[in-house]
Amino acid sequence: MKFVDEFREPEVITKTSAEIRRLADPNRHYRIMEVCGGHTHAIYRFGLKDLLPSNIELIHGPGCPVCVLPMGRIDDGLAIAQNPDVIFTAFGDMMRVPGTLGSPLEHKARGMDVRIVYSPADALKLAEKNPDKHVMFFAIGFETTAPSTALTLMRAKAQGVHNFSVFCNHVTIIPAIRAILDSPDMRIDAFIGPGHVSTVIGCRPYEWIAKSENKPVAVSGFEPLDILQSIVMVLRQLKADKATIENQYKRVVPWEGNRAALRAMAEVFELRPYFEWRGLGFISQSALRLREGYGEWDAERRFDIPGVRVTDPKAAQCGEVLKGVLKPHQCKLFGNECTPEHPIGALMVSSEGSCAAYFNYEHRKTAMVTSIASAA
């Protein structure tokens, strides 16, 4: 409970936590999945598990874009950048993600032109300033980020910038949720829906989860109180044997989403027939690629790509952790061979990855308690 004092409105937090205990049937075990990596980070950071009864288990979902990207795609992107005329650009999150021959940062150390950008628009600007080079943007992200890539490509086309391309790894959240629900080793009672993805797609795309799968969903904000209130929402539904979509994050998420963003995505992208997700395997219609009309800016069409599938290091159990079958600390490599400083799997790289979140908050806390106890 050590973080409670730092919370805004601590009395409301305490009340909400009491309400969760009142609603939870002690004879039942609840498995609630938070889909978004930002929620996973918040849950660990704020120690929210300590505010929940032990029969509520939070399962960390696939909503960390860095974590679900298979290693083969990183290798493919880096293969393009072997060309001395190519400048490889990506968000900072991507820079330490290991490929077979090292991360983008390690490739930079070996002399490759690898640069961090904070916006796809800046990658385009870099292309305009370096007309004798080709700037490739390694695009990752769910629907939160895909519209920005789409608009950047629309601007590239309109401005006639031809030395720019996107290596597109954008994925969509709904097919991943479907894959999880279809997976025989998964049993989820309810979902905490992603906050910022929903600002783009709105709440409607989740309706099938309630209608066909009979699972409640609460689209949630990122503050401790938001997440706890969302848990109250889904528990109330479970108690009443109902399943609907509730929008806890109304202050930011419109029910219909952001139409301008959806239009930009529809203009530039189309669904791939299938795409590989780390831990979840191939999922049909789960990722985006550039439409024919943007072929000139599509790195996959412009360059030869090895397209090799790379299996994860054998000992790493990223897949099981990603599906929620194993807790991060149950992986054999956790905390010894695989740490945030020396990540082996992607879940340890991003602060939104469940392994890094678990390591930074739970593991360090336990290690501290153990060392204090042994010193006493």
Partner: protein, 106 residues
């Protein structure tokens, strides 16, 4: 990745309807308003910014809440680094700059 940074619109350009200067705790950068084309923000309004694009309009109160959340999540510095990085050449980004502090929780 999921970082959404609150900023206030401080300057608009009549000849570039999709560009605004936003202020995030004293740091001013240009962002793209293209994703708010249906409902462009006015000067003084607040937006959530993600990878250099304003993605939704929010109230001032929610903007302050969002800053507090970022601070509490330990993401404030990363957010400031991101905002400082918009539109700059890599060589222009100071290696160890002092980032403006986010407001303390009240």
């Amino acid at each position: 990745m999921c970082l959404a940074i609150p900023g206030q619109v401080v300057e608009l350009f009549p000849d570039q309807p999709h560009t605004a200067v936003i202020d995030v705790v004293g740091v001013r950068r240009k962002v793209d308003l293209g994703l708010l084309a249906d409902n462009l923000p006015l000067k003084g309004e607040w937006v959530l910014i993600h990878v250099g694009f304003a993605m939704s309009k929010i109230s001032e109160e929610d903007a302050l809440d969002q800053m507090r959340t970022l601070r509490a999540l330990g993401e404030a510095e990363a957010a400031m680094q991101e905002v400082q990085g918009y539109g700059l050449e890599e060589s222009e980004i100071p290696e160890h700059s002092e980032f403006p502090k986010f407001p303390e929780a009240s």
